[in-house]
Amino acid sequence: MESEKSVLPVSFFELEPLAHWALATEQERMTARESSTWEELQTFYGAMMPRMTAIIEYLNRFPLNDMPADARRLLLMALSVVEVSIATELYRQPKSFNAFDRARIEIGENL
């Protein structure tokens, strides 16, 4: 078991400067993508993508709803990569085109 005190599991320590991408909800991850610069998205995507297979392999050792805090953070970062790839792989800019008014959309898991 890795230390609860470290931000990320030690084998992924080099990703710690990007730990602000450990966002709890889909809504937050979407907002982060849309409010980041193109360079910030590329930096995050570029650092995470080559490690994704190792990250998932590591995270699969834990029950999904009972992970140590550092592993949980890493999972949330992995979910953010899925979100960010919409920009880096498809739209080539932070926001998608022809988006609906953000003030009138609600995204959740229990609505």
Partner: protein, 394 residues
């Protein structure tokens, strides 16, 4: 000029639907909308949620039905039965539950004078009861609303005497959608769009594939099969009374982006859910405003529902819910995130489009709208709406 329909399959199968342009006035007329309220929404079976959300006795949710000026309380009783009631106290007509969802372990108590009801809707306690005049509590339970559950989907009908039960209403859809693993599904995501658009514009936009390679050219440019003249042809269109089904196949030549390749390569648990599908993509419009979609998944099939709740002639709350089996590990959680994020972008583009279509139609520059053969299910929908609304004149 003669219309050439030699290769137009659907109008040959359903010639009664015709080929004429369709009036757009039904989407922008306030008078038409008032008739829809009375003649469609107050008399049809309406999906208001799922029984999965209220698994335990006493679990409840409230659904505000602005279109019918109703507030509906859906609750599981101590006998496990799901019932719907008007969310209104029998004493002075106060709204009983403020909003949302909850658990009624003992009683639901009115905030005004503490009249209390059990989870079967019976009036159980009235403060200072003997000071009322011959009050018989048995007569003053919550007002029941006709309720039926089908594959876990809760439907209500505001008609005090519905002219048909839900299974009769669903017609051939009930026969077709049978035996899926609905009980293994859980809500993975819900998106709600408060749209400045008529409810039928939203349904029309979702009820065809024609727009997909154009409106969704970045997010899903090649998801559906391309099989005739460079366009997607739907596999089948079937009408079941008021309801419709169209089916489509996915594109085997679809080119996955890197994230999709990563997701496709993840280890997953064996398949847990299969939906009762006839193709790889089944789209049911259950009249008037409920859509049930099944996607064939690599592992688990996906169930997606839409509820289009009219708020006004030019305002609709579009609710989209994605159901998947709960993820068991990080791999499955990432698969779920991939599905939900991509779907959200598609819906986001659709919702924006509903508004621009409404804005265009509201200018009244165009009297009619046109439907091609692959949009025949929209033609059917407009005809069913028109048939209901015409009743008022008879």
């Amino acid at each position: 000029m003669k219309t050439e329909i030699a290769d137009k399959r659907w109008v040959k199968k359903y010639p009664e639907l015709g080929t004429e342009p369709v009036s757009g006035v039904s989407c922008i007329s306030a008078d038409y909308f008032e008739r829809e309220r009375e003649l469609i929404f107050r008399r049809s079976w309406l999906n208001v949620g799922t029984a999965w959300e209220i698994p335990e006795p006493g679990d409840y949710f409230v659904r505000e039905l602005e279109v019918c000026n109703a507030s509906i309380l859906v609750m599981r009783g101590r006998d496990k039965q799901v019932r719907a009631f008007h969310n209104v106290c029998s004493h002075r007509g106060n709204k009983l539950v403020a909003d949302g969802r909850g658990q009624c372990r003992g009683y639901l108590t009115c905030n005004f004078h503490s009249w209390s009801y059990d989870n079967n809707g019976q009036l159980k306690w009235v403060p200072d009861e003997s000071n009322f005049h011959d009050l018989n509590r048995a007569e003053y339970g919550l007002t029941p609303v006709a309720t039926e559950v089908w594959n876990g989907f809760v439907f209500i009908n505001l008609d005090p005497n519905p002219r048909e039960d839900l299974i009769t209403y669903l017609d051939g859809v009930a026969e077709r959608v049978k035996g899926g693993d609905f009980d293994k599904m859980a809500l993975a995501q819900c998106c709600k769009f408060d749209e400045k658009a008529n409810w039928k514009i939203g349904i029309d936009a979702q009820n065809e594939i024609y727009h997909v390679p154009f409106q969704h050219r970045y997010i899903i440019p090649d998801r559906f099969i391309v099989n005739e003249g460079n366009f997607t042809r739907i596999q089948d269109v079937t009408f079941f009374g008021r309801h419709s089904l169209y089916t489509c196949e996915m594109n085997p030549a679809h080119k996955p982006v890197p994230m999709e390749q990563l997701i496709a390569g993840l280890d997953r648990a064996p398949t847990r859910t299969r939906m009762p599908m006839t193709s790889e993509f089944d789209f049911y419009l259950i009249f008037p405003n409920f859509v049930l979609i099944f996607f064939r998944g690599a592992n688990n099939d996906l169930c997606l529902t839409y509820n289009f709740w009219p708020l006004a002639v030019d305002r609709t709350m579009w609710e989209a819910r994605t159901y998947l089996p709960p993820p068991a590990n990080a791999s499955e959680r990432l698969v779920q995130e991939f599905i939900c994020t991509r779907l959200r972008i598609v819906l986001d583009e659709d919702a924006a489009g509903h508004e621009t279509v409404h804005a265009g139609m509201a200018t009244r520059a165009k009297k009619n709208i046109l439907f091609q053969d692959e949009e025949i299910q929209l033609r059917h929908f407009h005809k069913v709406v028109e048939d209901h609304v015409q009743l008022v004149e008879n």
